[in-house]
Each structure stands twice: as C-alpha cells, then as structure tokens.
Symmetry: C2
Subunit: 186 residues, 2 copies
C-alpha cells in the first residue's frame, strides 16, 4: 500500500497544482488576473456574451475556445426564453466554483471522489426589479446550496472538503461579500 | 407622426410588459420566484450545470429548453479549459442583466435602440484563493462595465437608460451588495 498521491487523482494534476502554488509563492505578481466578457444585445431581453481573452501570469492570454452564451427572460417574464435568465447564471457560477475547488482540495488531501452534485436555488421577489415595492431588493434575498459528495473518505472528511472549498471560493466571496462595480458609458 | 409606442419596439412586447407589471401590482405574491441550477462534477475542475425548472407566479414552471453549461479552469490554472471559469460566468450574468433591463426600459420610454454592447472586466488576485496571502480576498477586487449604446435618442437619454437599468438590476444588486448563502450537505 502506497501513501503517494496519484498523479491524476480526481482528474486533478496535483503535481502541477502544487508547482503552480509554489511558483506564485515565489512571484506573487503572477497571480494578478483579469477576466472579461463581451456582451451584445440581440433583441428584447435576449443578448449574448463572448468569453475568450484574459490576462494572467504577466501577459495577455486566451481560452482554447471562444465561448458564447445567450441569456434571455422566459415568456412569463416577457422574454423569448432563448437562454437562462442572468440570475440563473449566477447560481451556475456559484455551483461551478465550489465544485472545482472541492475537486482540487480533495486531490490535494488524497481523497478520491466518486460523485459531487449540487443544487443551488435562489429566492427573488420581482417586486424589487419591477419597481413596485421600495422595501424589496432587486437581487436574490437568499441562496441555498445543497451538496451531495461521495468518495473514499469518512463523511466528516467529505464535509470538510465542502467547508474548505467555501473558504477559498472566489464566487462565494463575490456573492456573499459584494464587489465594487464601476459602469462607464462610451 | 404618431406618439404611440410601437407594440414591439426593440423586440420588447411593451403591452405585455405593462400588463405584467399591473398584474403584479394587483397580486404582489405573483412576483415571488425561485431560480435553480443543478451542477454535476465531471473531472478535475470541469463540471456542468443544468438549468430548467423554476418557480414563479404561484407555480412550478420550466424553461422551453434545458440549458447546460460547462465550467472549467484554463491550463494555466491547472484545468483543461472545457468551459469558462466560474468567475467569468459572473461577468456574463452582470452584462446580460444590465442589457436586458436597458432594452426593456428603452422600449417603455419609446426609445428605439440600434446597438448595445458592453465589456465587463474583473480584476482578481489569485493569491487569495491559493491561500498565499490572508490580506487578499478570494473574489474580484473590482469589476468595470463599459457600455456602448446607440439609438434614436440624445446621448443624455441613452446614458439615463444605463443608469435606470443599473438601479433596477438584480445581478448588479447581488454583486455589489452581496446575498446570504447557506450551504447544506446531504
């Protein structure tokens, strides 16, 4: 029986992960990234974002592919349902961030995952965005994430993965603590 | 020359939009919605969300299609680039929300839009999520949205559309003010 971490546990290249952390430790400036989305209005509430270029590790970079995503409102909200609503993409971002972190942390701790599922739900009262009640906020009033995590570790260790992922999640931080947003018009 | 609002200005069904607002005014409970995303881990930092069902106007509903979105990290962040990063989806959500609102507001004000584009960029220092510097937050340090808006109104009126959209944006509220998030584990 070996205690060596498998090179590719959970599909995570742990050697490269640790090498990356050590490289950033030696050159903290490398960790400054800028991500971007370019959005184009199509018609009504339907619009499309393109995600491709970003800045990181000191230079301009790009994803291997150009990703495009449509957003719209459903018919009940006077749209044409050409994509999810913008607020649903926020829930996807949160689930994706917590899950990616969880897989990395599990790999670093030598835990083999067999299943990770989550449902993220957000409650919103549209009296806010419709301008009908000044006491109701525009955004979600609360968000709940429910995780199922299975792997070769006791339940308590699997719970700790979720906790550590939360503690290191970029999107969890953005959503719970807020970020200053500046809007400029050409 | 008619001052009647076109029924379908900017692709927005303004008659239905106003009827919806009046319906909610009469029955505020109708505006309570719950949106959801279901996420499944695939491998490493790669995972996929499914968006389909939601609750609104008193009953369970569903989008006309089932939407699926992959998220991953790029190779430079030890992923396989099967999708944008979770934090990039946050930028898409913000652009999409501001743009959908802008089109609705323009239609309500009788302004015909010819072009709406935006670039959203977010600066993030990964020393936070890598756990290398406790003074650096996990999420974006700041986000900037740059809009180009063209239409049949003076520049000042077009600027006011962006301002009103910001004032009524669900995602802008979520990102700038934060939302409580509860995480449960089965």
């Amino acid at each position: 029986m070996s205690t060596t971490v498998e090179p590719n546990r959970n599909g995570v290249d742990t050697a490269t992960l640790f090498a990356t952390i050590n490289a950033v430790k030696a050159a903290p400036e490398a960790a400054k990234f800028q991500f971007r989305a370019e959005n184009e209005w199509i018609s009504g509430t339907h619009n499309r974002s393109t995600i491709h270029g970003f800045f990181g590790v000191g230079e301009e970079r790009a994803h291997e592919h150009t990703f495009r995503f449509d957003a719209d409102h459903p018919a009940i909200l006077v749209g044409r349902d050409n994509g999810p609503t913008p607020v649903e993409f926020v829930l996807h971002a949160l689930a994706a961030c917590l899950t990616a972190g969880l897989a990395n942390i599990a790999a670093a701790r030598g835990i083999k995952l067999t299943e990770v599922r989550s449902t993220v739900s957000g409650d919103i009262d549209l009296n806010g965005i419709l301008g009908l009640n000044p006491d109701v906020r525009n955004g979600y009033q609360n968000i709940t994430v429910r995780f199922t995590v299975k792997g070769d570790a006791p339940a308590e260790k699997l719970r700790e993965l979720v906790e550590q992922s939360r503690a290191r999640s970029a999107v969890f931080d953005v959503i719970t603590n807020g970020v200053p947003v500046k809007i400029e018009i050409d």
